[in-house]
């Protein structure tokens, strides 16, 4: 199971944070901070897995991250997930954002919170995660299973 999805930039500013386990706000901030320091220390050419240890749930959890331009995408998962599988999932996630925004960049995540994609992103991510490991996940994200029926639903505002 995925415990948390964190997206932050090279300076550690969180851009998208979603926890699937409840933490008080201070703890959330602390987790983001610590994760950032862990990830920042690592070169680009070493492996993408980190054993989290004390961060979220102890030794059963690991961090799997990818670094794209100015953004870090970090997934915190437990031992029931496949490392490489999650790594590819991050890829899919980013590709999907890319499709939503056409050439996504950090600014999109800041300015287009109002575009359905992002204000729903955490929720979308949940449904993505809940269905994760499902083969149709890429399909679902592209079309959005609800937006088939309700054409402009993705436009919330």
């Amino acid at each position: 199971m995925i415990q948390a999805i964190l997206v932050f930039n090279n300076h550690g500013k969180p851009r998208l944070v979603r926890f699937y386990q409840r933490f008080p706000e201070e703890i959330q901030q602390q987790i983001v901070r610590e994760t950032f320091h862990l990830v920042l220390k690592r070169d680009d050419n070493i492996c993408n897995f980190l054993e989290g240890g004390s961060l979220i749930g102890g030794s059963d959890y690991k961090l799997i991250y990818r670094h794209y331009a100015t953004l870090y995408f970090v997934f915190c998962v437990d031992s029931s997930e496949s490392e490489l599988g999650i790594l590819d999932l991050i890829q899919v996630f980013v590709e999907t954002l890319d499709k939503c925004f056409e050439n996504v960049c950090e600014l999109d995540l800041i300015f287009h919170m109002d575009k359905g994609g992002l204000s729903a992103a955490p929720a979308r991510a949940v449904s993505a995660v809940k269905n994760i490991n499902l083969p149709e996940m890429p399909r679902n994200i592209n079309i959005g299973d609800l937006s088939i029926k309700v054409p402009n639903l993705s436009q919330f505002v």
Binding site: G53, N133, K149, F156, V157
Partner: protein, 1136 residues
């Protein structure tokens, strides 16, 4: 405020007219859709945090007015909600809007509803009280005919839903499993998965429907159901073996590309689905040959199909390899898998290398030669720049450690340890080093040096077991007494040297270890007198950087040394200084020392030399105080009341209103809900590891359950001190082991080496020293699973522990006031051990109603209870001595023989409760029946094989398949080569539970041969329930109170009783008989019950009767047990 009102008012005409108002403020003029955009733009334009705060506060107050204004339409509300979400996301409090989010989800049209649901899922958390208000909406939407509404309801249910409201929506969601639309079916399955995660008991009955979902024609639904199956199989793999075929077929279809192209990801068919399936197969095929055989084909196919062109195929390959090595082995597949591991390990991609190392770690247990193949890669990885890879390599080395390579491996680990700063890594690695050192240490010097390194690096973060084990090892020693003395001597010497070094700070734990060792064993050393040692300890005591806990250890050490010392100047100085210490604990220790110091004789007998393992026994009943008590009582003093009784009285005076809600169950775990119920004392929290609690614990003497050795005239010495045995060993030169190792590694003739290959050679040498003893012919000791003779520090055969575990602990207790703060976990065990012994004495102290005393005896008597799977029609097996009746009628001829073979069983079984005989399988020639005997320490399963034919059966062999939750051991003398005609034989298996569960099955098969003809195999299975492993726990009310406070996991629930048992006594009786609980005490309308889950997990139940509602409150040290017991309780209370 006025401007807000103005804004709202001015906004209205704009809304009605659908045209922007001409003269209004800018914000009101803008269409609603861009308000959020405006807000974001506003925020990004700001320069300081302060301005942002001001802007958001302004925005929030606007919103607050807007959402509560009656004129706000739902459409506007939706817009407000989005802005609220944004503000909340920025970290500002928008709690005033939560209720409106719920309202919006309730009232709005599709779009608004969706925003409402989104807001709810973002704002609220699972235990938020407002969530209850959502339940009705969800129920309504689930019943809606609109597909989208149903979808939304199902989505929110699988995101957040209050656990206690599950019953309200469960039937509706179950219905949705049959829905015609696949997306609804899939979401329903996911919602049920969520329920299974948060409340597994509630969805137990729908397991059949999950099977339907697994066979669904839509791939999405099937895939969703895999999540549930993965989890259920993880919990209990034996129950789902029959599904193996289905999983294999599904995987075959996926691998064979039978799924629609949509499911391809980079032209790999459904990779995540494959991963999930492989994981399920791994769990199913573990240690099960027959199941594993089913999957060989498909695994082979997967290995072949996974062409290495993309990341995700590696992911599949990795799972495949892992599965191949986890299931029952097949050499062909193993070979292929080994090749794949090679690809991973040798890959230049670091992620793959990491996984390769991980795979090697799993595999190494089965195939140590594989590590030999990759030894050079492993050596390279040891010096890899990535610390994660390095750590993984060390993990691998840890698994291949043996007596020959220990020094090199531990050295590598220590090197890594010195570099890393993360606490988690240090804790982990320190534990491993300590474990290895204890197991394989080549000599004393090395062992002590390594442990010194462990203590000084691991310091205060390491697991408390490490110093405890170390000290125990020193104290208990091993078989060879001279060896022991040498080890102790060496430890003392090395600590004295370490203490001589100026300006070095050692972690507190290390100092504690040192002070204990010095206190106990300084007498071994000739060079330094006790005075000198005391001086050193005193110097430490005066150091400000030392915690008061450590100081207590130090004073204890000084106390132990004092009787050996000639002059006592320093001791006196110390007493002077610490009798005025502000720390109560230190002061107490100092006073104790002072009094002992004044009475040298007593001190010597109290603190004998080298007696840390001997038991010191005191009068637990404090009988020497009796006369004093009697005197006081006669002078009118109030009799002593135990703490919980005082508490109880106080509470009963205060209790007027019951504030607990009825009808809802709540379950909490952890420390939040740790108040005690009305009947039980609120004493100080006894679990916990902090220094403070530890000290408090030790300063109060624990005297229960200890034999009398202290008489009125003082200590009655039992054993002579054995000074004659001491042999002084010559001091071992303190050379560094690490240096030694370096020498072995670099030992080579430089003249013969070319300079460029020097590094290479070094690596090879390292490799040979690392992988020594790993060859196939040498005995490999992996993971320490098998204890071979190579163990250096094997503990002495635990005579002391068999003495009843209590004595060792008791000694700990008696000495605790002098020696050290003891480990708290010890104490819990201690309580339990103690409690059982005391039950008989204590029980009589409490007044139980006459009826209950009757039923009390019932539990102890053999209570023949018909469990669901026993045939009620069969007469009870041992109801009387008439043996003919028990056997199934069709084989009456066999019954005579049965009588003989069962005679021996009889003696044993009549002492214990047992179930009726039940036939589990039969055919023409034989029948197999079984029954359960609920013994005190385990469940004894007895299988009776009776030969119905007139022929001899050969090679009758009964095998029980290993089940995940059980530990099964065969009773000796059960295997029989030949079963004569018309005879009965029995097989007995002891079953113990390893993990709590509700129901499990034990399956197995029996095979035999009839007169050299074909072999026949019959399969059977028997259901076991949790109740089979529950035994009464006889404890007193006081102990109940103590235990209650020490348990963290609790569950509370209200249960309605049927009319027949609405009174307390009858309810109690039911629980006592059906669940085998022990009634500890009854206080008014409240009852205390205790039971234990074998082997020894206690569970306590407190209950209270309110009319026809029973408030049950369980607590246990095991997190799942209360849930399971509650479930059983409910069944019992409702069922009767």
């Amino acid at each position: 405020m006025s401007d807000i009102v103005e804004k709202t008012l001015t906004a209205l005409p704009g809304l009605f007219l659908q045209t922007p108002g001409a003269g209004g403020p800018a914000a009101a003029r803008a269409p609603f859709s861009s308000r959020l955009g405006g807000l974001i733009r506003g925020i990004t334009a700001l320069t300081s945090k302060h301005e942002e705060e001001k802007l958001i506060q302004q925005e929030l107050s606007n919103l607050k007015a807007a959402v509560s204004a009656p004129t706000t339409t739902l459409k506007m509300m939706k817009e407000c909600m989005v802005r609220l979400i944004y503000c909340e996301m920025l970290g500002y409090d928008a709690s005033f809007g939560y209720i409106h989010a719920i309202k919006l989800a309730q009232q709005g049209n599709l779009l608004e509803k969706r925003v409402g649901y989104l807001a709810v899922s973002l704002f609220l958390h699972e235990s938020h009280e407002l969530l209850l208000l959502l339940v009705n909406t969800v129920v309504k939407d689930l019943q809606s005919t609109n597909l989208v509404e149903v979808c939304m309801a199902l989505t929110i249910v699988s995101q957040i839903f209050p656990q206690e409201m599950i019953p309200a929506v469960l039937p509706l969601i179950e219905d949705k499993l049959q829905h015609s639309k696949e997306i609804i079916r899939r979401k329903a399955v996911l919602a049920l998965y969520k329920f299974h995660l948060i409340a597994p008991n509630q969805v137990q009955h729908i397991h059949v429907k999950f099977r339907k979902a697994l066979c669904d024609r839509d791939v999405g639904v099937m895939a969703a159901s895999l999540h549930i199956y993965h989890r259920m199989i993880k919990e209990n793999s034996s129950g789902y073996k029959d599904l193996t075929g289905s999983f294999v077929t599904i995987l075959k279809q996926v691998v064979g590309g039978k799924l629609p192209v949509d499911f391809n990801y980079h032209s790999v068919p459904a990779p995540w689905l494959q991963i999930q399936l492989l994981r399920i197969l791994r769990l199913l095929g573990k240690d099960d040959q027959r199941t594993s055989e089913l999957m060989y084909d498909v695994l082979d196919e997967s290995l072949r199909r996974a062409e290495l062109n993309h990341n995700v195929t590696y992911a599949i390959l990795f799972e495949c390899v892992h599965t191949v090595y986890s299931i029952y082995p097949k050499s062909e597949l193993l070979e292929k898998a080994a090749k794949c591991i090679g690809k991973f390990v040798l890959s230049p991609k670091i992620n793959l290398k990491y996984l390769g190392l991980k795979a090697l770690t799993y595999v190494i247990q089965q195939d140590p030669t594989l590590a030999l193949q990759h030894q050079m890669t492993i050596i390279e990885c040891l010096d890899h720049p990535d610390p994660i890879i390095k750590r993984e390599t060390l993990e691998l080395l840890y698994r291949i450690t043996n007596a020959q390579n220990i020094t090199v491996i531990v050295q590598k680990m220590l090197e890594y340890l010195h570099q890393s700063k993360e606490e988690y890594i240090i804790v982990n690695l320190v534990g491993k080093i300590a474990e290895l050192a204890e197991k394989y240490a080549p000599d004393n010097a090395w062992f002590i040096q390594t442990m010194n390194a462990v203590f000084s690096v691991g310091g205060d973060v390491m697991h408390p077991d490490i110093p405890n084990n170390f000290l125990r090892l020193l104290a208990e020693g091993f078989d060879d007494e001279t060896e022991n003395q040498q080890l102790r001597l060496y430890a003392v010497q090395s600590y004295l040297t370490l203490l001589d070094v100026e300006n070095v700070f050692y972690p507190q734990r290390f100092l504690q270890v040192m002070s204990w060792v010095l206190g106990e064993y300084s007498y071994l050393i000739d060079k330094e007198t006790p005075e000198e040692v005391i001086t050193k300890l005193y110097k430490l005591l005066m150091n400000d950087s030392i915690s008061s806990e450590t100081k207590a250890w130090l004073i204890a050490a000084v106390t132990k040394l004092t009787p050996q010392a000639q002059s006592s100047n320093i001791v006196e100085r110390l007493i002077q200084e610490f009798t005025v210490s502000l720390d109560t604990c230190l002061r107490q220790h100092a006073f104790e020392l002072k009094h002992l110091h004044e009475n040298a004789e007593l001190m010597k007998s109290l603190l004998p030399v080298n007696k840390s393992c001997e038991d010191m026994v005191v009068d637990a009943s404090l009988s020497f105080l009796d006369s004093h008590v009697a005197e006081e009582l006669s002078q009118g003093a109030a009799p002593y009341k135990p703490h919980h009784q005082r508490q109880e009285e106080k509470l009963s005076q205060e209790k007027v209103l019951n504030f607990e809600p009825y009808g809802l169950s709540s379950s909490s775990s952890g420390f939040t809900g740790r108040q005690s119920p009305a009947g039980i004392s609120l004493g100080s929290d006894i679990s916990g590891n902090s220094a403070e609690t530890g000290l408090k614990e030790t300063s109060s003497l624990k005297l229960e359950g200890i034999q009398k050795l202290w008489g009125k005239e003082g200590y009655l010495p039992k054993k002579e001190s054995k000074t004659g045995e001491e042999t002084e060993a010559p001091p071992i030169p303190q050379e560094s082991v690490i240096e030694n190792v370096d020498q072995t590694i670099t030992k080579k003739d430089p003249s013969q080496l070319l300079t460029q290959s020097k590094e290479e050679k070094e690596k090879q040498l390292l490799a040979s020293s690392l992988f020594v003893g790993l060859g196939s012919e040498s005995t490999v000791n992996l993971l320490g699973k098998a204890d071979t003779t190579s163990h250096k520090f094997r503990r002495k055969s635990k005579v002391k522990e068999t003495k009843s575990g209590e004595t060792a602990i008791a000694h700990n207790m008696t000495r605790s006031s002098f020696s050290s703060p003891t480990n708290v976990t010890y104490e819990e065990d201690y309580y339990l051990d103690n409690l059982r012994d005391r039950r008989d004495k204590e029980l009589n102290d409490f007044t139980l109603s006459a009826e209950l005393l009757d039923s009390e005896s019932l539990t102890d008597l053999p209570l023949v209870e018909k469990l669901s799977n026993c045939r009620p029609s069969t007469p009870s097996l041992f109801a009387d001595d008439n043996m003919e009746v028990f056997h199934p009628p069709q084989s009456t001829t066999a019954s005579l023989a049965n009588e003989i073979s069962l005679a021996s069983l009889l003696e044993e079984t009549t002492e214990h409760m047992h179930s009726d005989l039940m036939e589990v399988c039969n055919n023409d020639t034989m029948s197999l029946s079984s029954y359960k005997i609920w013994k005190d320490d385990c469940l004894l399963m007895v299988w009776l094989v009776s030969n119905k034919s007139g022929l001899e059966l050969e090679g009758v062999n009964l095998e029980i398949a290993p089940a995940e939750n059980f530990k099964i051991t065969e009773q000796p003398g059960c295997c029989l080569p030949i079963t004569e005609a018309e005879n009965t034989k029995n097989f007995q298996y002891r079953v113990q539970m390893e993990k709590p569960f509700t129901e499990g099955t034990l399956s197995g098969f029996i095979n035999y041969q009839v007169m050299n003809t074909h072999a026949v195999q019959l399969e059977f299975s028997v259901n076991l329930s949790l109740l089979d492993f529950i035994r009464p726990l006889n404890i007193s009310t006081e102990d109940f109170g103590k235990l209650w406070l020490s348990f963290a996991n609790d569950v509370k629930q209200n249960v309605k009783m049927s009319e027949s048992q609405a009174a307390l006594p009858s309810a109690l009786k039911t629980l006592q008989q059906k669940l085998r609980l022990h009634v500890v005490d009854i206080i008014g309308s409240e009852g205390l019950l205790a039971c234990q889950l074998l082997p020894s997990i206690p569970c306590l139940l407190h209950f209270r009767v309110h009319g026809d509602v029973l408030v049950l409150w369980f607590r246990s040290s095991c997190s799942t047990l209360p849930d399971y017991l509650l479930y059983q309780c409910q069944k019992v209370m409702e069922g009767s």
